[in-house]
Structures are given as C-alpha cells and as structure tokens.
C-alpha cells in the first residue's frame, strides 16, 4: 500500500496486570495459548534443556505479573525465519516461547540448547537465547540474553565482551547440579545491586 510515510512509531505501553487471560492463559481462562513455554517439537535435534528462574523487582520482591518471551536458534544455529537465508527447512522447531511468571515470580522454558549464531562479521557468538521482559510497571519491555555457564565460547563472545566483567554473570545461566534432566537457572533482577544487564538495541 502506498500510504503516507508515518511520522514515527507507535509508542509502547505496559502490558498491565491483566494480560494473563489474553497472552498466557495456560488453561486457566476460556482462551487458547498462541505460544507456550515448551518449544520442544518431536523432530527437533539437540540437547533438551530447561531454563528456569525468578524475576525480582528493585526491592528483591518476586514479580508475579511478568511475561517473558524467548527467541532462539536451533541446535545448528539456524533461525526458523525465512530472513535467515541459511535456515534448514527440515525441523518444526519454531524457536519462540512465552510464559507468565507464577505467584512466586518463577518461570521456566523447556527448549533445546541453541547452536552458535554468527555476528555481523561472521564471527561465531556463544550459544544464547534472546529474552524480552514485560510486566505491569514496565512501560517498555527490556531485552537481555541468556548464556550458559558450561560454554567455553563465552570467553570469545562479542556481545559478552561489551559487558563489564563484574556484570556478565547476570547473563549466564548456571547448570543445575544433580538435576535428572539438564537444567539451567537464571534469575532476572529488574533493578538493584544484581540488576540484570539489559541491552539498548
């Protein structure tokens, strides 16, 4: 359509406290989920993992009305999007997930460990998952990344390299010891001493 060029983007507004029945009903409301926190498809290759944690506000209080969305590559580092010209068409893995935190501010995603994705210079980035954070009291969502503490590629990652060394740990999920299935823990701190690194992107 040849519409006039708009004079700017539509501003963001908060998801508010009542998004659950529309965006993350999870069987509790008369509406179906477009997306869930389980990204695993029967045909997907790669290591099945769980990523879990708690979202905290600036007082260290868990945030029970938070929505998290993740976007990631498959185990081969390919995105399920035709804009990734390298994409492999042989997997039904979508790479997108969504969850609402529970009454205790907790979240989890069941997915597969992503492969390495190149940066704009073709240099491999360490395996990572993009995370977007939405909540009541957040007028605009925040972007961060989830890395994994058992990946040696972290030391070479061009994005982690931009983060002050003393804050990098806020982006790196820790493998849970003794878990029956591979699981990683990463808490999100919206504010405060342990504030998660968020990206201006």
């Amino acid at each position: 359509m040849s519409e006039q060029r708009p004079d700017g983007i539509t501003p963001s507004q908060t998801v508010g406290p009542y998004f659950k029945y529309g965006l993350t009903p999870n069987g509790e409301y008369a509406w179906n989920d477009a997306f869930t926190n389980n990204l695993i498809t029967p045909d997907v290759s790669g290591e099945r993992i769980r990523v879990e944690g708690t979202v905290f506000d600036g007082d260290g209080v868990p945030v029970p009305d938070c929505m998290l969305e993740i976007w990631q590559a498959d185990a081969q580092g390919r995105f399920s999007d035709p804009q990734d010209a390298r994409a492999l068409p042989n997997s039904s893995f979508k790479g997108f997930g969504r969850v609402g935190t529970d009454a205790n501010g907790r979240y989890s995603f069941d997915t597969i460990k992503p492969g390495q994705v190149p940066d704009p210079d073709g240099k491999p980035q360490a395996p990572h998952i993009l995370l977007a954070v939405y909540a009541r009291g957040m007028l605009l969502h925040l972007y961060t990344r989830i890395y994994f503490d058992d990946e040696t590629a972290n030391t070479e990652d061009p994005v982690l390299a931009l983060v002050p060394a003393d804050r990098r740990a806020t982006l790196i999920a820790k493998r849970k010891a003794g878990a029956a299935n591979p699981a990683y823990v990463l808490d999100i701190h919206l504010q405060g001493d342990n504030e998660t690194v968020f990206f201006d992107v």
């Binding site: 708009p6 908060t14 029945y21 529309g22 704009p120």
Partner: protein
C-alpha cells in the same frame, strides 16, 4: 555503529522510569542499557502458521453462547513500518476490559459486573497488505489504585509482532476525545504530544456497518529498517 533498525525510532517510547505511574519506580533498571550490534538473533523473529489464528479469533462477540453486553464496534487498521510499508502476516493480539470496565482476570476486583458472554481476548493476522480487523465491544473506563481517584481511560491492549524480535510492540489503543486523558499517567508517560496521538484511534464513519456497529481505525507503526527495502516474510 550503523544499525539496521535505528535506535532513534525508540525516542517515541515512554521513559521506563515514569514516577507518576508508581509501579515503574521499582521495575525500571537504574544502570545504563548496553548498546550492542544487531545480529541475526535480533534481526529475525517468529513465524506462525494458520494454526496460531483460528477463523473466528478476531471476533470477540461470538466466543460464548450469547452476545456480550455493550456497544459493538469494529476495530481495524494498518500495521506498517516507519517507511509506510505494510507488514503482511503480522500477528496482532488484543485483550481488554468488558463494557463495564471489568477484566475477566482473577486479580481484577473492581466491583463492576463480569459478562459471562465476554472474555475479552482476540487474535488476528494482517493480510498481504498489512491490514487487520477485529469485532468487539467498547471497553469501559475503570479505577485503579495508582493515586486518589485514578481512572484509566478506556483502552484496548495490543501486542504486535513485526519482522524482527526487536520490532516487537505492546501498546494500548485509546478512543478519541476521552476526558480522562489529562489525568492518566500511563497515557501521559509518552512525553511527545504527536507520539501520544498515535495511540488514539480515529472514529471511522466510512467503515461503520449501518444498523450494526460503529468503527474505529487504529494504525500501528513498527520500527523500520532504515530506508532499504526488505523482503517480506512468507
């Protein structure tokens, strides 16, 4: 650092810390956000199939046994990027209060009646040109505890996916001429008057259905990718 999606576009957004909206005080970062390059991870985004949006998901008035109470309206518009190009096959989700200003959410205890015939959630996909259309009822205003006698102007929540994970938008659509605008800290968190105006739908008499429903148009503008044309998603 040249970015495919310029950061300048983001100036339209409200500041994350807007103390007039009290809940932002403990939920906004205090440390500076770190600028990074936009890699394939940021520049791609989810694609959804026809299973995501079912045939009648755009009509919030036919989800139950009876029709919901309230003023039936059509809400439609064009999802486009900053360069005016329509965004085809974009997923548009909405949720809203009922005609009395009550949400079906269990946390909402506003003493206004629930409507057994209205959930208040809908979903649509834009067509090949970027147009979407919903049928719903006009939501009511409702009080909230932010400050003395605080009322939210009537609004519909929108969630929109563009071409990339970083063009994701969650916003609220308002109705023209609402007398509550000057008093609402969420609406006014957007400091630029022109940008605020882009959240207000326009009354669309031309697309009203006579004897059936009034119509409002709400165009949604997502971040653009410089001036270079981009391929559309399948």
């Amino acid at each position: 650092m040249t970015l495919l999606y310029p950061l300048q576009s983001l100036a339209a957004h409200p500041p994350r810390l807007s103390p007039g909206y009290r809940s932002t005080v403990k939920r906004s970062p205090q440390k500076p956000l770190i600028p990074i390059r936009q890699t394939l991870s940021e520049l791609t985004g989810p694609v959804y199939g026809h299973e995501t949006v079912r045939e009648n998901d755009h009509d919030l008035t036919i989800q139950h046994k009876g029709e919901p109470l309230g003023e039936r309206i059509i809400v439609h518009g064009h999802v486009r990027d900053e360069d005016g190009r329509g965004v085809p096959n974009a997923l548009v989700e909405l949720w809203q209060a009922n005609a009395c200003g009550r949400y079906v959410h269990v946390v909402d205890q506003h003493p206004a009646p629930l409507d057994p015939n209205f959930t208040g959630a809908g979903r649509a996909q834009t067509d090949a040109s970027g147009y979407y259309r919903f049928v719903t009822i006009k939501p009511g205003a409702y009080p909230w505890g932010n400050h003395h006698n605080a009322w939210r102007p009537a609004h519909i929540h929108f969630s929109v996916f563009g071409h990339a994970f970083i063009s994701r938008l969650v916003t609220q659509m308002y109705f023209p001429g609402d007398p509550l605008f000057p008093f609402d800290p969420i609406f006014n968190s957007v400091t630029d008057e022109k940008a605020r105006a882009r959240m207000i739908s326009s009354f669309d008499l031309e697309n009203t259905q006579p004897e059936w429903a009034l119509c409002y148009r709400f165009n949604i503008v997502l971040r653009g990718r410089n001036a270079t044309p981009m391929e559309n998603k399948q």
